[in-house]
Symmetry: C2
Subunit: 195 residues, 2 copies
DNA sequence: CCTACCGATCGGTAGG
DNA sequence: CCTACCGATCGGTAGG
């Protein structure tokens, strides 16, 4: 599957450039240059610049969804599963997806606005669904007294923008280890809704 | 000062477009069209597209700095000034600057990367200074036992990305009132570092 | 603030 | 994956 690895290389390079300069600020030639091929040659592998963006964003959306599903499933399997455990598991999973691939994660967080109208709408829906899960989780914790009384909409916005904000500063070769970060963020998040 | 108001109109329109489509995704003609003038006519008022971006970003940087200064000064004047009061005041001030002008704030948060090398470096320094103040505040609270023991770097990153994240979802005509938001955010922020 | 215009670059296609 | 090429648009200038 030469085709597949080349596509992946293109996505890697594009993610990195999109993160640095944005989708509009990155030309097809920029991507090609990073791969040591001619601009027009890129079209042997992709249909359009837009398709590259879509591949990155769609893949990451799926990854976030899957990670949340898996984390909540595990958390629910534990005998002492409460909203706190669930929220911590969700945060840890979300942070893990980001640190595992900051470049694509950054494109997902910031560049989905450059998607074509329909694709943008789809991602908008999926983001809404995801955010709704977080809100529900917080609302449940609030209702049972595990969490303090907060506006779930505001608290979820605070939480999600904080976590997604990792894409703006995290570097894999930096001082902060992924595991440490996941723990610290789960900790802060939990404390921020504690009574 | 006709010149000044026209410049302000240009900045208003540019902020709105830069927020929606990004600096690279916005053309000089887009800005001109929103003002009902010809693309080239814009150059009667501004030297370059880059200068418009700089005007917006520089103005907002100054506003954030001034708001933080004022808030901390007031907080320190109170007899029971402790790190908690100071942090709450800082958060409220920061949120206030954002809700007061989400469009420019959004450009400040997201588009400063499109600044020319030197200007980008200057804003980088000023952002670092600002972030350092937040870290110090958190570290002081940690040391005196007002706050829990946290990594000030990680906690400050969490806090600042959460607050700046307001630019990604806040709408002046939305459900959430600016004052309510400032209170709620100060509350969550304080709780997130409480023992 | 306008018209007329500039060279450079854009995303993408044709045809190998 | 390359060369050659396309029309459209880019930021910006000259000269009123």
């Amino acid at each position: 599957m030469v085709e597949t690895t080349r596509r992946r290389e293109i996505e890697d390079v594009a993610s990195s450039l999109f993160r640095e300069r944005g989708y509009s600020g990155t030309s097809v030639r920029d991507i090609a240059r990073a791969l040591d091929i001619q601009g027009a040659s890129l079209y042997a592998h992709v249909a359009s610049k837009q398709d590259v963006l879509w591949a990155i964003v769609d893949r990451m959306a799926t990854r976030f969804e899957a990670a949340a599903d898996a984390a909540l499933e595990v958390a629910d399997a534990e005998p002492d599963a409460d909203p706190g455990t669930r929220l911590a598991a969700l945060v840890r999973a979300h942070v893990g997806v980001i640190t595992d691939d900051v470049e694509r994660a950054s494109v997902f967080v910031h560049e989905w606005r450059s998607l074509s109208t329909e694709r943008r709408a789809e991602i908008g829906r999926r983001r809404d669904d995801y955010e709704r899960r977080v809100r529900t989780l917080i609302a449940e914790g609030s209702a049972t007294g595990t969490f303090t009384e907060v506006d779930p909409v505001v608290a979820a916005a605070y939480l999600l923008t904080a976590i997604n904000g990792i894409v703006s500063w995290y570097r894999p070769d930096g001082r902060v280890r992924p595991e440490t970060l996941a723990d610290a963020y789960a900790d802060i998040a939990l404390r921020s809704v504690s009574p």
